[in-house]
Amino acid sequence: MNSKVIKNINLAFILSFLMLTSLFVIYPLIYIVSGAFAPGNSIATLSIIPFGDGITLKHFEDLFSKTDYVQWFKNTLFIAVCTSLATVIVSSLGAYVFSRFQFTLKKSMMMTMLILQIFPSFVGMVAIYVILLRIGGLDTLWGLILVYLAGNIPYNTWMVKSYMDTIPKSLDEAARIDGASHFKTFRTIILPVARPIIIFLGISSFTAPWMDYIFPKMVLRSSSKQTLALGLYSSFLTEKKNEFTTFAAGALLIAIPFIIFFVLMQKTMMTSMGGAAVKE
């Protein structure tokens, strides 16, 4: 009897703790949703009770009719897909070589990659700008993709290499004895086995461009070439004006697909994150 009471108190305690945390977690998200549908423009006029002022779709209409939102979305999607594909190809090939071949400068190259990945890429901003200027990559989407790709390589090559190290070498040796070329071994034996890490790599390099602000601001100039994060931030939340509600509408449209995706994928991510990281 007594222990049951203790158990119930315990349960109630945990439940209320979880409820409170949920409240804290959801709090700002509620205001993104209510802001997106609220009449009025700035945060100052937003009702403190969610949906307190009624509901309007005006901000969504504005996004599509008065700004380049659709174009921004297309640009970001294009950049994200290309960056993701290119990162997967280049990093997995590089990781395969680092994992399976012995060569002269291997150790120092691995070390260099590891040290390079601790720098945020914008430290070399000025030089990247000039190099892009030289090769005509300014204000183009491929210029930005190139910058992202190069920035992704050091860390991701390491991550994939660590995973490939756990794949038994006997697998590819068997294929080699059967006469398969190195590339064929890589494509038909290693890639399928390394699928979890490749998927993780693809997802993480796909999501990054949606959130980045610095490089798009540096590389892309014309409004028709901007990405979502840059366009939303620089059009609606500057020092001069605060159009929180339109920003929220635009942000909501990006966040929804992400949330659906993350919720559906949480099991897969848990295992692949655990696997990818712990295996090191």
Binding site: L93, T104, A150
Partner: protein, 440 residues
């Protein structure tokens, strides 16, 4: 043209000397590997043809151009282009030297094979053989090329800038040239009681405190959530878990900007709610009081960062075998003891590299600071240094580069970050399985 070579290894010296003398010469003269030899020779010919250009670029790198106030702006020497070109040329020379070494090694290897087998391979065999041997080089080429020109060159450039006077207002090309100044920038940043050095000490300390606090709170926040969801055996646990990963799913730019608006001192929703509920009479200066703003940074970062560790620790806890739990229960351990003596050590051991990685990530966590507080509020030295009360080193670098055009000081800070973080990166490297197994 074909010169006889001995099979007993005595011609090794000739092959070596000829390969060093001119790239590919050994292949053509002694080893009948004409395609390979001509390929190598062409590379060296290209380099030799470019050598006047290379020399002038290298001289420019040393002098960084002369100031020519009489010429129109467009024709003046642009020191920054010179500096970048110089660094690129150095990178190209490194690649060339690497190819040179590869060519000499390949000549020696072919000769050794000749000594063993006693005959030279015919061209057809060589080509199919080369395709296989070239695979690692071809597969690694995009990685090396991209990293070299878009990561290494910019970083070396930035390291070089730390030793120049590249800064507004007097040394911005193309109007003016830039000169090497030795350690003057480091002195200005580290020595003496100027606004710059006090600002630097303040920002550096806050960066370290921020990195440690942000990592610690997110890790243990995530662990508490993972454990309470896992142990309580609630039927609602999946619902809560889904709610808790929402901050991880929303792009950080979006959530930080929303928090920034909600916490706004005068018209933010949080303050208006508090006043409406009669909890405070005036607005709380969430983002305009330096200490409170720092606290808010850590708190909001906890909001954004705990889901990652929650997922990670849940993953690592489910991987612990059920036998261990059973054994502990039979031995009479209670829930708390099981957690303290078994789960915690196992999870900690498995996630240590990730804690360190998360620390380096937080030191560089640009988005969490920049979009939440923009580095504000203004403090005593802000008018000179541009660094606000919550600025960490990376956001300060950004402001120095974009707003103040003090590229030289920004570069000094980048070097500081490198010196602080490199040991952590190397520690993680030495702890990897591959390193411990002695594969490298």
């Amino acid at each position: 043209m074909q010169i006889k070579v001995q099979t007993d290894g005595s011609s090794r010296k000739q092959v070596l000397i000829s390969s060093i003398l001119f790239m590919g010469l050994g292949h053509i003269l002694y080893l009948k590997e004409y395609v390979k030899g001509v390929f190598y020779a062409l590379i060296e010919v290209c380099m030799l043809l470019c050598s006047p250009m290379i020399m002038s670029k290298l001289i420019n790198l040393v002098t960084l151009g002369n100031s020519q106030p009489n010429l129109p702006v467009k024709q003046r020497d642009n020191s920054i282009f010179m500096l970048i070109d110089g660094v690129i040329i150095l990178a190209v020379i490194c690649v060339f030297i690497a190819i040179y070494i590869i060519s000499v090694r390949s000549a020696l290897k072919s000769y050794e094979e000749y000594c063993i087998f006693g005959w030279l391979k015919n061209e057809k065999n060589i080509i199919s053989d080369t395709a296989q041997k070239a695979f690692p080089i071809l597969a690694l080429a995009p990685t090396v090329g991209l990293v070299l020109f878009f990561v290494v060159v910019p970083l070396i450039f930035s390291a070089c800038v730390a030793f120049t006077n590249y800064a507004a207002p007097d040394h911005i090309p193309p109007n003016n040239t830039v000169d090497w100044v030795g350690f003057a920038n480091f002195k200005a940043m580290f020595v003496g009681g100027t606004a710059w050095s006090t600002g630097f000490v303040r920002v550096a300390i806050w960066t370290l405190v921020w990195g440690a606090l942000a990592t610690f709170t997110c890790y243990f926040g995530g662990m508490i959530m993972a454990v309470s969801l896992n142990q309580s055996k609630l039927k609602l646990a999946p619902v809560f878990r889904t709610i808790f990963i929402l901050p991880y799913a929303v792009p950080a730019v979006v959530s930080m900007l929303v928090w920034n608006n909600l916490l706004n001192g005068s018209f933010g929703v949080v303050n208006r709610t508090l006043i409406a509920l009669n909890i405070t009479s005036a607005g709380v200066p969430w983002l305009s009081n330096a200490w409170l703003a720092k606290f808010v940074c850590v708190l909001i970062n906890l909001w954004a960062g705990f889901p990652y560790f929650m997922l990670l620790i849940t993953g690592s806890m489910t991987a612990i075998s059920a036998d261990i739990y059973e054994a502990a229960k039979i031995d009479g351990a209670n829930q708390f003891q099981i957690f303290k003596k078994m789960i915690l050590p196992i999870v900690l051991y498995q996630t240590t590299p990730l804690i360190i990685m998360s620390f380096t990530h937080n030191i560089n966590n640009f988005g969490a600071i920049f979009f939440l507080t923009n580095g504000y509020p203004v403090v005593a030295d802000s008018t000179t240094t541009g660094a606000g009360g919550t600025d960490i080193l990376v956001t300060w670098i950004y402001k120095l580069t974009v707003n103040l055009l003090k590229y030289n000081y920004a570069a000094v800070l980048a070097i500081v970050i490198f010196v602080v973080l490199a040991p952590f990166a190397i520690y993680n490297f030495r702890n990897t399985k591959a390193y411990k197994d002695g594969e490298m």
